[in-house]
Symmetry: C2
Subunit: 412 residues, 2 copies
């Protein structure tokens, strides 16, 4: 039998009615001839409740106990979904991480999957089990203690199972019906993509299109797992959702696939830094040590031995960044006249694998923004992405202008 | 290090504050020099919530999934209590049933403990762990699936651990402060017992004094585990609560230790049954087959080849009993003129290991009841117990009269 992995997130199994709905989607795939491995999250809200209890009991908690406690939410959903499938006459059973066993490192709270031996599930499939419902987000370390995989762990679990069991596809059921050319709340001409490459999805995920966790897309790309994102709340056809796949599977491609944005960016400027060899390291090493996620970096030309250094980081890292810079100044490592934090900015990006073979995307982007009077503050580029930092008030305008200029409302 | 087992029920770990309170009781025993094994129930209400979900999802549920789901409540408490102890600086860790492993039969939902290998916990104790917090009520079957032990499973878990680890004592923390000579709500002269024998406790437990589950007392008696019942909500001394122990450990003993009662009893009378050899079997075999718990049985003297047969059973078994008797009548197995169910009765019992060596207890009991005008409907006796069925309206009066006549308000 071909294998299929299906994953249901917390909102898709939020109550008994939704669990039943998820079961009917699984039944559809069983009827399509698949042996199915279902990965489930905890009912939405449950994990937060458990995490809250842990934090209240022990603010500097032992991560091993955290894992033992928090993983219980997924176990409940796995059992309930198995029962729901049994009610439909489908031979199903639940599997907790340690029963599979899903072997992980012992980095509790953020463990990495090391191995998924297929023997146990294979044996049950050959005995007639049609669906294995696996508690996501959890595994077991060598010492027999329960681990969890950290944020987005259930998506990662799903992709890892799809790789281990050579599944035809890994379907991620969520509360959106696919990946769009941009956010439909900002641009009503946004169009759902039928397919998108791993590389593009990675750029979009890390840019704040929170459909899939970055880590699960990376894993899918590495093991060539075909990943489909689709809605739990709609009836399915074989073409529902968006398929995240190898670029070779995508016949025609636009140069730009999507426009992404991120609101929680801040622009930090160190004014009049003494410019000398090694100054960049002297600034960014303490920032890294303080755990500040620096994204874009721009250095002005030097004048009279001094320069301005600008970088962006998440808004909730601003305080850490300021503290790190003031400390570095106090210790004499760096010297600057002022530190300006501008939280009134946002990042807008165009992403497309076609950029690799087409020049001029950045130029077209800047022209489109200029035509709308949008001033660009910082620019960065990668092989398949151009990002700009602009004033927050221009965000919607910029997204719409870029969606238009690259013709994203129509299919390739 | 001497070992101590402590067990906290659902109300004793109902919220984070109470879990912290339980932790402080554990700390006291660690400071007393014990290595402690703590057995915990789920936070009160949690198990019912999970059971409710199971029943709603699948009324004829797969008991294996039931076990996997319902056992999650204890796992949460175990982790939280371990964290709470760590916060107090005590090296503690949680253990789920399969991690110990607590090996059981595969009778899911009502599994029996088969073995508790001590190696894993012993190894951790020798590495410096001072407290093992074990999720109660659960184990693992040979096939690697999670089992639960059925009602009162956490008490049974506690006693089994105490036996396996040769613990000095097994302390059951609950919401009452011990075992009383009778229910203090009925008799305000009721006195807390310092010690009670296993045999007496068994009679009291099965008579409705729901302090300890019968099964756990049986197990304690079998393995000579000294069992202490005490309150989670009071400060402890070394003499808190009631010790359930071997009768040899109880120096002085009254003839009668306690007066128990049970309200959910019904008296059933088969009127004018054709009396013949084998008639008792013909009546009670179908009742047993129908799952009716018959307690007391009285057969009147026979007259003209017919007799009245009276028995008692729990009130919620009356319907089953009636159906079984009517069916037996319809099939011609038995013949009777009428079937009278009297739900307006109750059972009152005096229990005491001293009865073995003292005659006249029954007579003294009947006299005391007679003096109060209480009519006795059915009588049964065992080696250490005399029970009578009386009209429900006399229950409080009967309990008070018996408590008085056997002088239970003062210690031996």
């Amino acid at each position: 039998m071909p294998r299929l992995v299906m994953k249901f997130g917390g909102t898709s199994v939020a109550d008994l009615e939704r669990i039943k709905n998820a079961a009917s989607k699984v039944r559809r795939e069983v009827e399509n001839g698949f042996d199915v491995i279902v990965i489930v999250s905890a009912m939405s809200g449950k994990t937060n409740e458990l995490v809250g209890w842990v934090n209240q009991t022990s603010p500097m908690f032992d991560a091993r106990e955290y894992d033992a406690i928090v993983s219980s939410g997924e176990n409940v959903t796995a059992g309930l979904l198995a029962l729901s499938l049994q009610e439909m006459g489908i031979p199903a059973r639940s599997w907790q991480g340690w029963q599979v066993p899903l072997m992980t490192t012992s980095a509790h709270g953020a463990a990495r999957i090391e191995e998924i031996p297929t023997d146990n599930l294979d044996a049950k499939f050959s005995e007639g089990m049609q669906v294995a419902v696996v508690a996501g987000f959890q595994g077991i370390a060598d010492d027999g203690r329960i681990t969890t995989l950290g944020r987005g762990g259930s998506d990662t679990t799903a992709v890892a199972f799809a790789a281990a069991f050579a599944a035809t596809r890994c379907d991620i059921y969520t509360d959106v019906d696919g990946v769009y050319t941009t956010d439909p709340r900002i641009e009503d001409k946004a169009r759902k993509l039928d397919k998108i490459s791993y590389e593009e999805m990675l750029e979009l995920a890390s840019l704040g299109a929170k459909v899939l966790q970055t880590r699960s897309v990376e894993l899918a790309m590495r093991f060539k797992v075909r990943l489909r994102v689709l809605s739990s709340f709609e009836d399915q056809t074989d073409n529902s959702g968006t398929l995240v796949c190898d670029e070779e599977e995508i016949m025609e491609n636009k140069i730009v696939s999507g426009v992404a944005y991120s609101k929680d960016e801040a622009k930090m400027t160190l004014v009049s830094v003494a410019d000398r060899p090694g100054i960049a390291a002297a600034i960014f090493s303490p920032l890294a040590a303080a755990g500040v996620n620096v994204d874009m970096i721009v250095q002005n030309i030097s004048e009279d031995g001094r320069t301005d250094m600008t970088f962006s980081c998440p808004t909730d890292h601003v305080a850490k960044a300021e503290a790190a810079m003031e400390a570095a100044k106090a210790s004499g490592e760096i010297n600057f006249h002022g530190l300006i934090a501008d939280r009134d900015v946002c990042k807008v990006s165009v992403v497309g694998i076609g950029m690799r073979s087409h020049a001029g995307v950045a130029a077209q982007m800047f022209e489109a923004l200029s035509a709308e009077g949008v001033n660009i503050k910082v620019i960065t580029t990668s092989e398949i992405k151009v990002s700009v930092l602009v004033d927050r008030k221009y965000m919607e305008l910029a997204v719409q202008a870029l969606h238009d200029t690259f013709g994203l409302e129509t299919a390739a």
